[in-house]
């Protein structure tokens, strides 16, 4: 088996008395979708933030593509190939959809210190951006101001920007929230094919999507991973049923 692209080693993070991450270890291998599930407040987003570098763990390390990236900035980790989508959409709201996508393509290409070009006429960047928008189904919204998009569409734009980065791994925090039935179905099909390009660490609440997509599933409860395995293993794990899935049955 090849080395994992992403490896989280014993990450711990406390907020005051609250252990949001409790010696978490996990990895992401090429070609897979690794789902991270867990009840609200379990610490899923907190883990993603520590992987991408926007939050510093108290202890533990993150390894990416064979390199210890624990001390690198968010920007540096993105340059190395982490493509992140945010749970709460984080976009340039005054820009059009296309401008946001071009922003991603530009950030990835680098050479941003050009002062006299017309960036929205750069055919290379436009091609990358429009291709990404098409893949997520936003091609008809390219001229819309991002602030005027629905929540689901913003989520799709997050994914499109991540695509323009041509990342080595995707880290997606609930990319399907707010999409609606049709949108979710489209996104599931899309993510399913995306794993060939780069593996995905997928935080998701929609269990149908998780069981349809994930090669492996890790269950996070109160900052701790209580189980990792394929769909069948997770379904039949008594601890998981009690801590998490049982909750859903009751709901």
């Amino acid at each position: 088996m090849t080395d994992p692209i992403l490896e989280v080693r014993e990450i711990t993070k406390s907020f005051g008395g609250l252990k949001a991450s409790n010696t978490i270890s996990l990895d992401l291998r090429s070609g897979e979708i690794h789902a991270l599930i867990g009840p609200n407040g379990a610490g899923k987003s907190t883990l993603i933030k520590q992987i991408t570098g926007s939050l510093k763990p108290d202890s533990g390390s993150v390894h990416f593509n064979g390199q210890d990236v624990s001390h690198l900035s968010t920007a540096a980790r993105a340059q190395l190939g982490m493509g992140r989508t945010f749970q709460i959409s984080s976009l340039a709201m005054d820009y059009t959809v296309l401008q946001n996508a071009v922003l991603g393509a530009l950030g990835h290409r680098g050479n941003i210190f050009r002062f006299f070009n017309n960036v929205m006429k750069d055919t290379g960047l436009l091609a990358t951006a429009e291709n990404a928008l098409e893949q997520v189904g936003l091609q008809d919204f390219r001229a819309i101001r991002t602030a005027d998009l629905s929540h689901g569409q913003r989520r799709q734009l997050e994914v499109a920007i991540a695509l323009t980065l041509e990342p080595k791994a995707f880290l997606m925090d609930e990319p399907m929230a707010g999409l609606g039935a049709d949108g979710s179905r489209h996104m599931i099909g899309f993510l399913n094919s995306l794993r060939q390009k780069a593996p995905i660490l997928l935080v998701e609440h929609d269990m149908d999507a998780v069981f349809a997509l994930a090669d492996r599933i890790s269950v996070l409860v109160y900052g701790e991973i209580i189980a990792t395995g394929d769909a069948a293993e997770i379904r039949s794990n008594p601890q998981v049923r009690e801590a998490y899935l049982g909750e859903e049955d009751a709901a």
């Binding site: 991408t52 926007s54 900035s73 968010t74 920007a75 540096a76 993105a78 340059q79 992140r84 945010f86 984080s90 976009l91 340039a92 709201m93 005054d94 820009y95 059009t96 296309l98 401008q99 946001n100 071009v102 922003l103 991603g104 530009l106 950030g107 990835h108 680098g110 050479n111 941003i112 210190f113 050009r114 002062f115 006299f116 070009n117 017309n118 960036v119 929205m120 750069d122 001229a143 101001r145 920007i161 323009t164 980065l165």
Partner: protein
């Protein structure tokens, strides 16, 4: 043609028509007033590059305005007194040549902006405002206490500096020089706003997290924006000092920083031509209200309050609406 472009053209036409008409009807005072507006506009366009495009609330742009002013004052002072600025290890003479003075003003302001930016950008929000203010105040007190160049009294220049082929003492000719420089600066800033750098910078203003997620570092963008911004405001300072043939510590005062900020906010934050509208309106108000009452700043304050509360996009937001995305 969209509303913004129309407004740009109308604005720039009025700005050149008023002084030309005034000159034809022998009203040199109005020509000088228009020149002031043009120079203030350049200073505002400079600040707008940091404040409007990068969201950097600098309350210290008087530092660059003053540095530009003193670059002109010191160079011209040595030229008119026939004393070299420096004799060792090599001789540097003063000069009366405007192009050289501008270049020196731009370079000095850019270097100082780079240094101030490196120190100030470690902070953000209210701290950034305070630290930029503090740097400008440092220059202010330094200028006051440096007797070699006039100290508190400032420096006077007997005749305006020279520009090849023109008589700079003729108000309309000096106006023309400043107007052309304004056009040049607007052209550069317009291009930069729509460039790769501009797209990334304006994204950082909206959302730093997004810029980091696409692999770029907001502070690097800010530092360059701040440097360019300071350089442009420095050029305006040199022109202003030449207009008055006088430079004094007042150019460094926080009052000056506030005025430059007023041009930007009045005109419309982040709109390339916004500060031009802001500076023109400011001069208009100063001229009309100033005649009515010595306390015209109170009325200006009220108008500014109105703009901030009711027309958040300034004059440009009010007339041209929200900025239209270029495709």
């Amino acid at each position: 043609m969209n509303k913004e472009t129309t407004l740009n053209i109308v604005l720039m036409t009025i700005l050149v028509a008023v002084p030309v008409l005034a000159w034809m009807s022998d009203e040199p005072f109005l020509v000088t007033l228009a020149t002031r507006a043009v120079i203030f506009a350049i200073a505002g366009v400079g600040l707008n590059f940091a404040l409007g495009f990068g969201g950097l609330v600098s309350f210290g742009h008087a530092a660059f305005f003053g540095l530009g002013g003193y670059a002109m004052g010191i160079l011209a002072f040595h030229a008119q007194t026939y004393t070299p600025m420096m004799e060792w290890p090599f001789v540097i003479e003063g000069t009366k040549a405007m192009p050289i003075i501008w270049l020196v003003a731009i370079i000095v302001s850019a270097l100082v902006a780079l240094a101030i930016g490196m120190l100030s950008l470690r902070t953000s929000g209210a701290y950034f405002i305070m630290i930029t203010l503090a740097f400008a105040q440092m220059f202010y007190y330094f200028a006051i206490s440096w007797p070699a160049y006039g100290g508190e009294d400032g420096l006077s220049i007997y005749v305006r500096n020279e520009f090849p082929g023109l008589n700079t003492m003729d108000p309309i000719q000096y106006f023309s020089i400043c107007y052309v420089l304004l056009l040049l600066v607007l052209f550069i800033v317009h291009r930069a706003a729509h460039s790769s750098f501009g797209l990334m910078l304006r994204a950082a203003k909206q959302n730093e997290e997004r810029v980091q997620a696409v692999g770029q570092v907001p502070n690097r963008l800010y530092l360059i924006a701040f440097t360019i911004s300071g350089a442009i405001t420095g050029l305006a300072g040199a022109l202003f000092a030449d207009l008055n043939r006088f430079v004094s510590p007042t150019m460094f005062s926080w009052h000056t920083s506030g005025e430059i900020m007023v041009f930007v906010i009045l005109g419309g934050l982040g709109r390339v031509f916004g500060p031009v509208a802001g500076a023109a309106l400011y001069i208009l108000l100063e001229h009309s209200l100033g005649g009515l009452s010595a306390y015209w700043h109170i009325y200006l304050g009220a108008i500014l309050l109105g703009v901030v509360i009711f027309a958040r996009g300034g004059l440009y937001g009010l007339i041209a609406g929200r900025e239209v995305a270029h495709d």
